[in-house]
Amino acid sequence: MERMQDKQFDQFFKDKVGRFEPPVPGHIWENIQQQLDPGPTVVLHKKRRNVWWIQVAAAVVLVVGATMFYINRPTEVVYLTAKKVQEAGERRQNEDIVSTKLKIAETRENAVNNKENSLAVEQVSQVSEVNVIPRQIAQKHHVDTKKTFDVPMSGSEAVEIMHPVMVDEIKTADLVATAIEKAISVQNEMPRQASFVDSVSNEPMKRVKNKKEFAAGDILEYVASSVNPRNEKIVSFASDEEGTIKVAVNFKALKIKL
């Protein structure tokens, strides 16, 4: 071959070298795959780690949030207190509602009945799960009307607030429960009317009405409006000046209706 031109020289290399197909080491492909698809264990590890932290964070937030909610949850209690009245005739004028306190006039009661009442009331609150018990135990009329007959037993609590639920005599818890449930159902239908009249209590109601009296609807409205709508609404009934709570009623369940 004579003197070679540059082009020929290049072409020679190109032809020779261009057809060269050397064997490729096998490990290269494995390396490429590894590089393109990083080991699954590593990825898994990372993911698991992330999830772990997220779970812990979520748990902490949950606990803190629940605790704060529980701690901050305000509870307002409206106390209803009762006052004793010496005689039916000389009832003291009931005082108006002062701030969140409702006064309940209470006639003299005999101890046995009182006990009975409180017992009954307690049972009522348990029986009627509704929580809302505008409870009124107005037995006063019995005293008033029957006193002359020397009826010693009927203790009487004239709760003026609650004329919707007039229960004549609370002998048994069952009676009270049914009466109150009745009262509640009636009241729900026409809370403003305050016209729930028990079979027995027409006369006493009138009398009570002469005094300061409030419809159950008004009471509930008052209670409901005096506390934050989202809070628990508890109305407690105290039997005496000491404020011994006979019954506490949670009105929360009624908040929507109110």
């Binding site: 071959m1 290049d10 290269i28």
Partner: protein, 165 residues
């Protein structure tokens, strides 16, 4: 499969641009990783093989530039230009030619590969290697001279790779 069909071809390209088999393997590996990572950018213009080949060559250029920055390449300007330029090259094995190319000084090797075998223009080479077109041309001619010199020595039975005194 794409890799297995083209790996040998591309490995050949890598061997030309690399200074050792080890470097060529490295080049092939990172080149194909790039191919698979950007395969969705292939527009279908031209052949897929040509597209992959360009990626491999670009990888080789990157490696060359990285190495060139690391240690200043000593350009061998003094090349013995063989006057007698007749070789019986048909006798030469491809493997021997590969070795020769690998032994080319870095700059010569890049230019010679890109121009003589890949068919790039001097302008493209200048842009890719960040040199002037003139530099590309002179490097090419020096590369040829270097190779011819080696081939001459081989023909004389000398052990190529060493200059005969």
């Amino acid at each position: 499969m794409l890799y297995h069909r083209l790996a040998s071809n591309m490995y050949s390209v890598c061997l030309r641009y690399a200074t050792s088999d080890f470097e060529a393997e490295d080049m092939l590996q990172s080149g194909f990783v790039k191919v698979f990572q950007s395969i969705n950018q292939f527009r279908g213009e031209g052949s897929l093989e040509g597209w992959i080949r360009r990626i491999i060559v670009n990888t080789a250029i990157e490696i060359y530039r990285r190495n060139a920055r690391k240690h200043q390449t000593v350009s061998i300007d003094h090349v013995f230009d063989q006057e007698q330029q007749t070789f019986d090259m048909e006798r030469l094995e491809v493997g021997d030619l590969m070795k020769l190319i690998q032994q080319l000084p870095d700059g010569y090797r890049m230019v010679f590969n890109m121009y003589a075998i890949e068919g790039y223009s001097h302008k493209e080479i200048a842009d890719a290697l960040d040199i002037t077109e003139g530099a590309s041309k002179s490097q090419l001619s020096r590369a040829r001279a270097w190779l011819k010199n080696k081939l001459f020595m081989i023909e004389r039975g000398d052990n190529y790779g060493t200059y005969a005194g």
